[in-house]
Subunit: 149 residues, 2 copies
């Protein structure tokens, strides 16, 4: 569609994209930090709670697959959520390797307090719905391609 850029510019573009991604991810982190402070959650903890609110109790493995996180990250994170009284872990009886993560009543209740969060973030992005869809689409494709390579 356009003239292909010279090599140098192309390579520059690449690291600009990576850098933008890195910066944007941390900028989101900052806004979430504020929005979640009252709930006492970090952003990754909030992601885990979203999974549990939406899909119910499930094994650590399943949470990890949904969030692209391994047990080295999830185990201590879940331990903190358990200490905070939001979650409890129970070793499965059928397969004793597996541990199922359940919401406690407090964890379930927190859902309501978390409802206004997404709107705050949405407003802070300054993007239109169209743009958000485009962004989500591109990011999804990149992640898929990168993971495959």
């Amino acid at each position: 569609m356009t003239t292909l850029p010279p090599d140098a510019e192309l390579l520059r573009l690449d690291h600009q994209v990576c850098f933008s991604l890195h910066a944007a991810s941390r900028a989101f982190g900052g806004v979430y930090r504020d929005a979640l402070k009252d709930l006492g959650l970090t952003y990754p903890q909030y992601l885990v709670m979203l999974v549990l609110w939406e899909h119910g109790a499930q094994p650590v493995k399943a949470i990890g697959e949904r969030l692209r996180l391994d047990s080295g990250t999830l185990s201590p994170l879940l331990k903190r959520l358990e200490t905070a009284g939001l979650v409890h872990r129970e070793r499965s009886t059928e397969d004793e390797r597996s541990v199922t993560v359940h919401l406690t009543p407090a964890g379930d209740e927190l859902r309501e307090a978390a409802l206004p969060v997404p709107r705050r973030i949405l407003a802070a992005t300054g993007l239109t719905v169209e743009e958000l869809r485009t962004l989500r689409g591109l990011l999804g494709r990149v992640t898929g391609a990168l993971d495959a390579s």
Copy 2:
């Protein structure tokens, strides 16, 4: 342009974008980890080296502004780069609060070894140049808006 989606979908879209961003950022991290292993650099260390290769010796403060990182992150990172012999730090004589970061000859030479890295990453993304531009644009706008809020 399109029918506005109902509230629930809109809020869903928001956390999907945040999640995609988080996931994409980590996926890039993984690919860079492989590409930079031979150079003995992590991705954030590589970003610092890019700044020095491109703009020459400069104070910690300036590096932090370019990369959106504070001294709590940069100080130990620079110490590691110094231990690796790629960089050395010198306290400014005019303003003794400031520390200027210089490339060592080894740090300068590493530039050549790093040249093939961007192309590898570029290929791994699976996106066209158009799409990369769009992505960079959207991410830049989001970061700006989020930082301002």
